[in-house]
């Protein structure tokens, strides 16, 4: 029975296993060939989309299969890609697979075929491939249209650095096609007669609106059309940087990051990259609306740990960053608030503030910063909700700024922002005595004391100084102290004190009280003025001063100086030095180059009496002299001259004058002794003499040549150099002889002048002595001449022998006489009036026994006229006689012949003599006829010419024919008037 019970079960199992075996065998043997292969295209993505089914797949059976796909281009034999695609295939399933072509599909015909094999583990036997499906042709070109040219791909989006293949399809192979990438022609390879391909490697990002490529088709030189594409090149999407999340209230997590470059493109080809937050523990995600921050709501109080992934994404790429953190470790507290100060006094204050409540038992660590007087103090304090802190050791009357920030005391993550407030401490009495110094000017019977003080520093003033009190106490004579209250704005005050010792207290006062007093004693004795001034050299850093210590006890030393020594208000400065110091350095920004600073060093005795110890003077930097001396040239001789500039002030110069340079230019090439050759800035040569003594302000320049031209220039010099350039002064030495002439002529001039004065004073005597009005013929020198000629028959006619026949009445006024003297030619001839004393004979021709004188004494007008009208010449006068007498030539000849020596003596008088002499002549009888027979005056040369030869008028050598019986010759000295 048991056998029969078991049998049906065994049978059933056997039958089942048999059926399974049958089906496996069926599957193994049946060819699982891909069928119904269809290929579609996506031009925008340049992809082929394949779909197929598997034939003979058992019903409701899944098999793991591998499909091998072959893709050919242009022709089936040109296989460009072979690949496997593994998948589990169900019965009656339509399979899909895509392939992206680097070449735009429009550029070439593609062919696809597929075969398959089963790789299921249930079939351990060696697999065999099915047969290839038939080739499926994909030809997109046919659907392009009728345009003559096409360029592909259209509006493709790629990432920067990608390789791009571009092609054009030209319908007419006769056309010439030129292609340009961003304006530059590019050359491709021909895929077939209609298609050319261009490979662009690593395309760069050019602009958001895309990079252009266009191709121009032309026939010959005629353009048939242009087609182009825009390639949108996107920047590479960057990984977000500095991604972090934190909370301020345990309700919201605020996540931030640096997004990097924006990959958005124009034409909406690609928007800006998007950011998504994904939290792995909760499995939630959130698309962020901002590109650099996102808020995440904390919904579960229990979740303390968060694992965030930030995903940046654009059309081409996806990037992500991840952070894992505990929420309590990412607390960024909100700012403290209600910051205030309580119980503020001069040195203390209490600071209070509040914080936002967080979780229970949350402890804040707060940091306080106190700013004041240029310093910063920092304090830390832990608080729960309300904070407070006592600020101590504050400065009086000082404005402070205190600020506070807080952080999680348990797990420090980040400080909150600062919250701050200002406060000012109260005033206190000044803490230090003012620094006081004095300047004493002694006057007869008094001291003029000027007190100076420096304003207290803010640190010591402890408030606003309102006034200074100056108390003066006479130490020699008991008296009431004087109190002077000086406004705070003043920095000095002047006191007039008797010649007593005084003690002066100076205090600074603010609203709270007075400072300690600064004490200074004014000695009755005048300041020691016998201290010699010492020169010091300053540097850019200042002046280094040293002095001998004052004997006895000193409480310190004071160095004072003026910042502006040239001004009346010289801005006195001083520096206090300790009692053990014997040197100090005075350095201040106010020192200027070229300014002489005078320093006085005082020792302060224990009695606060200042004693002058030393005087120093110097320049922080010496400069070259600013001006040259005004040089005077003195003692100019033909061989030397002296230069002097005694008024040149050496004290007011921008440096210590060390001496002078005297430049001398001359035509001589050799320099004078003591001079040396020098070249001036303009390149010219000259001679230079150096004077090393600044007080030597004169120079004798000698060994010069007479009548020579020299130029000189004197300039002082300091350690910094010479004075400014200036023009040379010109000097010409005088002639040597001219000096001598001066020596001779001057005495002569004075001698002549003396003689003239004497002559003037003794003129009457001289006149009477030398040329009386009526000359005495017997005293005439002609007598000696006559004797010399040994003419015994010629005698001098006596005056008594002359019978006057006429008297000339002179009626001319004195003025006429003067006028005559002025000009002989201008004066009209005035005929003299004659009174005839004897009867006249008209035709008298013989020689008369008389002599008639006529000169200026008798007739002024006659001599003026130059006419001889009153001396008529008889008509019958023998010409020979006349010619002899009147011809000046004859007279001259005669003179020359007989009295050459005499002529030589009187030559000087010829030029200016004007006189008419009367001549004893037979013709004198003619005068008789003048009144009665006024004849026209003959040529009057016979008398006039005498005027020119009057001085030694000599008778011509008498000839035998001459009827002239006698000639009167006048001594020239007697006829001058």
């Amino acid at each position: 029975m048991a056998v029969f019970e078991v049998f049906p079960t065994v049978f059933f199992l056997t039958l089942l296993s048999l059926r399974t075996y049958q089906s496996e065998v069926l599957a193994e043997r049946l060819p699982l060939t891909p069928v119904s292969l269809k290929v579609s295209t996506n031009s925008a993505h340049q992809s082929l989309h394949l779909q197929w089914t598997v034939q003979n797949l058992p019903y409701h059976q899944e098999l793991k299969m591998v499909f091998q796909i072959q893709i050919s281009r242009i022709e089936t034999s040109n296989v460009i890609w072979v690949g496997n695609y593994s998948t589990t295939v169900k019965w009656n399933q339509v399979l899909h697979w895509s392939w992206e072509s680097e070449l735009p599909l429009e550029c070439a015909t593609h062919f696809v075929r597929i075969k398959s094999t089963v790789v299921d583990a249930r079939f351990p036997e060696p697999n065999f491939w099915s047969n290839w499906s038939s080739w499926v042709e994909v030809n997109v070109q046919d659907s392009l249209g009728q345009d003559i040219l096409f360029v592909f791909p259209k509006d493709k989006l790629v990432e920067e650095g990608a390789n791009v293949t571009i092609c054009y399809v030209s319908r007419n192979i006769q056309n010439n096609v030129s292609c340009y990438w961003e304006g530059k022609q590019i050359y491709g390879e021909q895929l077939d007669p209609h298609v050319s391909v261009f490979h662009l490697s690593s395309v760069p990002f050019i602009r958001k609106t895309g990079a252009d490529m266009y191709c121009e088709v032309s026939q010959g030189n005629v353009s048939k059309g242009i087609k182009g594409i825009v390639l949108f090149v996107s920047k590479v999407l960057e990984e977000p940087k500095d991604f972090s999340c934190e909370t301020q209230d345990f309700k919201t997590l605020h996540c931030t990051w640096d997004p990097g470059v924006d990959t958005a493109l124009g034409w909406s080809k690609q928007p800006s990259q998007s950011y998504t937050l994904f939290e792995s523990f909760s499995g939630e995600n959130k698309l962020c609306t901002h590109k650099n921050w996102c808020n995440w709501q904390i919904t579960q109080d229990s979740q303390e740990t968060y694992n965030f992934t930030l995903i940046a994404e654009n059309y081409l790429r996806k990037r992500s960053v991840n952070i894992l953190f505990n929420l309590t470790h990412r607390v960024y507290p909100m700012n403290p608030f209600s910051v205030d100060f309580e119980n503020v006094n001069a040195t203390n204050a209490k600071m209070t503030w509040k914080v936002h409540s967080m979780k229970k038992d949350f402890t804040y660590l707060c940091q306080i910063e106190l700013y004041g007087e240029g310093k910063m103090m920092q304090y830390n304090v832990s608080i729960k909700v309300n904070g407070e802190y006592y600020l101590s050791e504050l400065e009086p009357a000082t404005e402070y700024m205190a600020q506070v920030r807080c952080a999680d005391a348990s797990h420090f993550w980040k400080w909150s922002e600062w919250s701050g407030q200002n406060f000012t401490t109260l005033e206190a009495a000044p803490s230090e005595a003012p620094d006081v110094w004095r300047n004493v000017n002694s006057e007869p019977g008094s001291h003029i004391v000027t007190l100076f003080w420096k304003p207290l520093s803010k640190l010591h003033a402890n408030g606003k100084i309102l006034f200074y009190n100056v108390v003066v106490e006479n130490l020699d004579k008991p008296s009431r102290s004087e109190l002077h209250s000086i406004p705070a704005s003043a920095k000095s005050t002047k006191l007039t004190l008797n010649r007593h010792s005084y003690q002066v207290w100076v205090t600074a006062n603010n609203s709270v009280g007075a400072s300690p007093a600064s004490i200074i004693v004014i000695s009755a004795d005048p300041e020691n003025q016998e201290v010699e001034e010492e020169r010091i050299a300053g540097t850019e850093g200042g002046f280094s001063l040293s002095w001998k210590p004052q004997p006895g006890d000193v409480v310190g030393y004071v160095v004072d100086w003026c910042d502006h020594p040239k001004y009346t208000l010289c801005d006195l400065q001083w520096k206090n030095v300790g009692p053990n110091a014997t040197s100090t350095v005075i350095s201040t920004d106010t020192f200027r180059p070229g300014v002489r600073y005078n320093f006085r060093i005082y020792g302060l005795s224990t009695k606060r009496i200042a004693c002058l110890l030393a005087k120093k003077t110097g320049y922080s930097q010496e400069l070259a002299p600013s001006d040259n001396p005004h040089v005077l040239v003195d003692k100019l001789t033909s061989h030397s001259f002296t230069l002097s500039w005694k008024y040149y002030s050496t004290e007011s110069q921008p440096g210590f004058i060390q001496g002078y340079h005297v430049y001398l230019k001359s035509k001589a090439r050799q320099c004078h002794p003591r001079f040396e050759k020098a070249v001036l800035s303009d390149g010219s040569e000259c001679c230079k003499y150096k004077i090393d003594n600044p007080e030597e302000k004169a120079l004798i320049v000698d060994n010069l040549k007479p009548k020579s031209f020299y130029e000189f220039f004197v300039t002082p010099f300091t350690s910094a150099g010479e004075g400014p350039n200036a023009t040379f002064t010109k000097v010409t030495t005088p002639d040597e002889h001219s000096t001598m002439l001066i020596y001779i002529l001057l005495p002569m001039f004075f001698c002549v002048l003396l003689i003239m004065i004497v002559c003037y004073l003794k003129s009457q005597w001289i006149k009477e002595t030398c040329y009386p009005d009526i000359p005495d013929p017997y005293k005439s020198s002609i007598l000696s001449l006559i004797k010399f000629k040994e003419k015994p028959h010629l005698t001098i006619m006596n005056v008594s022998d002359c019978i006057p026949d006429a008297i000339e009445v002179v009626s001319k006024p004195e003025g006429t006489k003067l006028q005559f003297r002025k000009s002989l030619t201008e004066t009209e001839l005035t005929r003299p009036n004659y009174v005839y004393l004897l009867p006249t004979e008209k035709n008298y021709s013989g020689p008369g026994p008389f002599i008639c004188f006529e000169n200026l004494t008798y007739n002024q007008a006659a001599s003026d006229s130059g006419s001889c009208g009153h001396v008529p010449v008889p008509v019958n006068n023998p010409p020979s006689q006349l010619g002899l007498m009147i011809s000046p030539e004859n007279v001259q000849k005669a003179l020359e012949k007989n009295y050459m020596n005499s002529l030589g003596e009187i030559s000087a008088g010829e030029t200016s003599l004007n006189y008419v002499s009367q001549l004893a002549s037979p013709m004198s009888g003619d005068k008789d006829s003048l009144p009665t027979n006024p004849v026209e005056p003959p040529h009057c040369s016979e008398y006039k010419r005498q005027m020119a030869v009057p001085l030694c008028l000599v008778s011509p050598p008498p000839t035998e024919n001459s009827s002239l019986s006698s000639i009167t010759l006048l001594n020239p000295g007697e006829h001058y008037r």
Partner: protein, 202 residues
């Protein structure tokens, strides 16, 4: 329909849309009367001249602004890419009667209005940051709209013309980006050329 639906920006185009771009369209039924809502201004012709002068004065600047905003290769290949080779542009005969010239001006303004509308739309997408170009395009479109109104008023009031067959500017909505840029440049080049001629003709 696809072509027309995308490129219609000016109100005129919307109002007058019937059959399709590029084909002459009747504005009003043949037997419609010429009716104007508002009375026409007295110095219409002066206003037309003034508007033409205004457009002429800004046309070159608009052209330059446009091709500069497109980037290379446009600025350096104006002859090739921006030549005024617009095939279906309405003709204009300067020696015609005023009525004929006004009718032709009407057609041109309608054409340019639609073309500029398409260009403006395209550039706002392609060059969202080229604000000055957008502003200039909008201003030009506004003036064209006013000019169209004045021309219509003149035709209606003086010549009782109530029907003008018009053509519209090419629709670029289906074209690729390069084609849009190129077509826009060509249209603006043509606009610059034509508007000068029109300003002189009136």
């Amino acid at each position: 329909m696809k072509v027309l639906a995308a490129g219609v920006v000016p109100l005129l185009l919307v109002l007058h849309w019937r059959h399709g771009a590029g084909s002459p369209l009747p504005i009003t039924p043949v037997n419609a009367t010429c009716a104007i809502r508002h009375p026409c201004h007295n110095n219409l012709m002066n206003q037309i001249r003034s508007q033409l002068a205004q457009l002429n004065g800004s046309a070159n600047a608009l052209f330059i602004l446009y091709y500069t905003a497109q980037g290379e290769p446009f600025p350096n290949n104006l002859d090739k890419l921006c030549g005024p080779n617009v095939t279906d542009f309405p003709p204009f005969h300067a020696n015609g009667t005023e009525k004929a010239r006004l009718v032709e001006l009407y057609r041109i303004v309608v054409y340019l209005g639609t073309a500029l509308g398409n260009i403006t739309r395209d550039q706002k997408i392609l060059n969202p940051s080229a604000l000055s170009l957008h502003s200039k395009l909008n201003a030009t479109t506004d003036i064209l709209r006013g000019l169209l109104s004045n021309v219509l008023c003149r035709l209606c009031s003086k010549y009782h013309v109530a029907h003008v067959d018009v053509t519209y500017g090419p629709d670029t909505s289906g074209k690729d980006v390069f084609q849009k840029k190129k077509l826009g440049c060509q249209l603006l080049g043509k606009y610059k050329q034509v508007i000068g001629m029109l300003a002189q003709a009136f």
